[in-house]
């Protein structure tokens, strides 16, 4: 499928913009992850996946699982950009009675397929959904977005082994490799490298790409969907935390961004200056 890269760049920018605005509402949040993974989400939602924004439970949709529930702000931003959630609603992010709680839960938000947050569960649920879709002779794909820190959870590897054993060629695992987790750099907390070779050894068709390069992502998603072998597919996406807001990118502690009030405005200004045409 040919991709409209300028349009994807605008959507990725939109996702970043929504995420920073939500961060400003709560004055905190996993904004760094959202900025980092915005390009991956833009390609997923505006290039690869089939879905109806006005009917997020349409049976024929490709399913997107957010295993990393704490990245909810990123997915909300994508769902707002897609038109599933009204943009006005971002003002309610993380407040009482909001459909957009700080951690993503299926029962709260249209377009949120699972309750993530307890890490290491999304890929296993994806295995079951992929089996279920095959039972229904559906050609839809399951996309599971997880983080590199989540690779420390053993259940991830149970699920990886299971997906290959059951030949789940309708399951695409996206690993956001930003090398950051709660206690520091992932490679120092618990190294999962070489991640791509591990997935390959588990029987997956695996690619590793620059997760902030839209063209590379488009090609990787296309190859993942059209790969001819009956095996599950992984795309390891190396991303940069806080991508698009250089003064935040430069910060050491980026797992959970707390910035001064005026810095939110500054971040929005910087984003505004970089808005694609």
């Amino acid at each position: 499928m040919s991709a409209d890269l300028p349009a994807l760049a605008r959507h990725a920018w939109g996702i970043r913009h929504h995420a920073v605005r939500m961060g400003a509402v709560q004055k905190q949040g996993y904004v760094g992850q959202a900025l980092g993974v915005a390009d991956v989400l833009a390609v997923a939602y505006f290039h690869a996946m089939d879905m109806h924004a006005d009917d997020p439970e349409w049976e024929g949709r490709d399913r997107f699982l957010l295993s990393i529930g704490h990245y909810a702000i990123a997915l909300y931003a994508a769902l707002i950009e897609k038109g599933v959630i009204p943009a006005l609603e971002l003002e309610t992010y993380g407040t009482d009675d909001s459909r957009l709680p700080m951690s993503g839960m299926a029962s709260y938000t249209p377009g949120m397929e699972i309750t993530g947050g307890s890490l290491g569960q999304g890929l296993g649920i994806g295995v079951g959904m992929a089996l279920g879709l095959k039972r229904k002779r559906s050609e839809c794909f399951i996309y599971n977005l997880m983080s590199d820190g989540e690779l420390g959870e053993g259940s991830t590897w149970e699920a990886a082994m299971s997906a290959a054993h059951h030949a789940l060629d309708n399951l695409i695992c996206l690993v956001d490799f930003n090398n950051q987790q709660a206690d520091g750099c992932s490679r120092q907390v618990l190294s999962s490298e070489p991640v791509d070779q591990k997935f390959e050894a588990f029987g997956w068709y695996t690619q590793r790409v620059d997760g902030n390069d839209l063209n590379a992502l488009v090609e990787a998603f296309d190859r993942a969907r059209h790969h001819p072998e009956p095996v599950p597919r992984a795309i390891i996406c190396d991303t940069t935390m806080c991508k698009g807001v250089p003064f935040l990118e430069a910060r050491e502690i980026a797992h959970f961004v707390r910035v001064d009030e005026q810095e939110w405005a500054l971040a929005l200004d910087i984003l505004q200056q970089g808005k694609p045409q």
């Binding site: 397929e113 309750t115 649920i125 079951g128 089996l131 039972r135 299971s162």
Partner: protein
């Protein structure tokens, strides 16, 4: 018992005569009194009946199909059976995924592996989403002599705190058959304790029909009311008969649904004045049926004389089931002994 206490017990021990030694066993058939008829794999056969009627029913196991009677289903419906390997976390996650796609998964393993290893996955992937996953788990409580690694003595305590979850502890082959149909018809997640293999049948002596969420009075009695679940209802029925021979008039209220508890029925029968209420369960006395009943009664202003029969708060010994059941107070004889002791004091 601590390791050192257990070691000193071995050191002080006189060797048992080889002829008297009983074999370590997980034979469920031995749970019933001698002469009780048994039925083979009641869960597996019930599930096959249901699957003939319903295309949405699928089965999963974590390398324990033969030991949870799911092999009966796997043989009848191989295309609807998923072998997930020795990986309980992904099995329950995958069951959640299948349920999200509109199927009704029955997932089996041993109760210890569900409750201890996969709890977070059951809590978040299944119960929080209120999915139609039926977890049917073998070796509940003290039904194997293999020691604490296989004895799920605290599974009810663990699962009772989980919102949305229905918990069933059936007594015998008849009830397993009926309860399997009932949980399949129920919307929402269910944890059912399973007696597998050759399972004794005792409730067919009564005009019994399992109802999800209902406790049922099997027999009334003026002096003692047993409130029991699981195979302990076999034991309380047998104990009731033995005690009656000695002139002690007992009744049995069978309470197979642990959650939600049938508080109305419990209150109705336990409020009857002048009799001792004795709960009996194949579970630790902490957090199971007994404490659930005590809490329900107290909160409803019912305060009978009250005793609990259950497993002690310790990791249990390995050994032969009949020996262990007697040692830990849940054999029929031990039930009789305890009731006589309480009535005398």
């Amino acid at each position: 018992m601590s390791l050192s206490r257990r070691r000193s017990k071995w050191l002080a021990r006189t060797p048992v005569d080889a002829a008297e030694r009983q074999l370590t066993s997980a034979m469920i058939a031995s749970l019933g009194a001698e002469g009780l008829p048994t039925v083979s794999a009641p869960f597996g056969h019930a599930l096959v009946e249901i699957a003939h009627q319903r295309d949405d029913v699928v089965g999963l196991t974590a390398d324990l199909g033969k030991y949870t009677d799911l092999h009966v289903f796997a043989e009848a419906f191989p295309e609807r059976f998923y072998q997930m390997g020795m990986a309980e976390q992904v099995m329950f996650s995958a069951a959640a995924g299948l349920a999200k796609e509109g199927l009704t998964p029955f997932a089996t393993t041993y109760a210890v592996f569900a409750a201890r290893r996969a709890y977070d996955f059951i809590a978040m992937a299944i119960a929080e989403d209120n999915l139609d996953v039926k977890m049917v788990c073998a070796l509940p409580g003290l039904t194997t002599g293999y020691g604490p690694s296989h004895q799920a003595t605290e599974d009810l305590a663990i699962f009772r705190g989980l919102p949305n979850l229905t918990i069933v502890d059936p007594c015998d082959a008849l009830e397993i058959h009926q309860a399997t149909h009932a949980i399949a018809a129920h919307k929402g997640p269910v944890y059912m304790r399973l007696l597998r293999g050759q399972v004794p049948s005792i409730l067919d002596q009564y005009d019994y029909q399992f109802e999800l969420g209902k406790a049922q009075l099997l027999e009334d009695g003026a002096e003692v009311l047993f409130v029991s679940s699981g195979f302990m209802t076999m034991r309380t029925i047998e104990a009731m008969r033995l005690l009656r021979v000695d002139g002690i008039h007992c009744g049995v209220l069978h309470c197979p649904t642990i959650k939600p508890l049938d508080v109305a029925t419990l209150v109705k029968h336990c409020a009857k004045p002048g009799r001792l209420v004795v709960t009996a369960e194949n579970h630790s006395v902490i957090g199971g049926l007994g404490e659930s009943v005590a809490s329900a009664l107290l909160q409803n202003g019912v305060t009978p004389a009250f005793r609990m029969i259950g497993l002690p708060d310790e990791f249990l010994d390995a050994g032969a089931l009949p020996v262990l059941h007697d040692q830990y107070g849940i054999s029929t004889d031990a039930v009789v002994r305890q009731v006589k002791h309480w009535l005398a004091h």
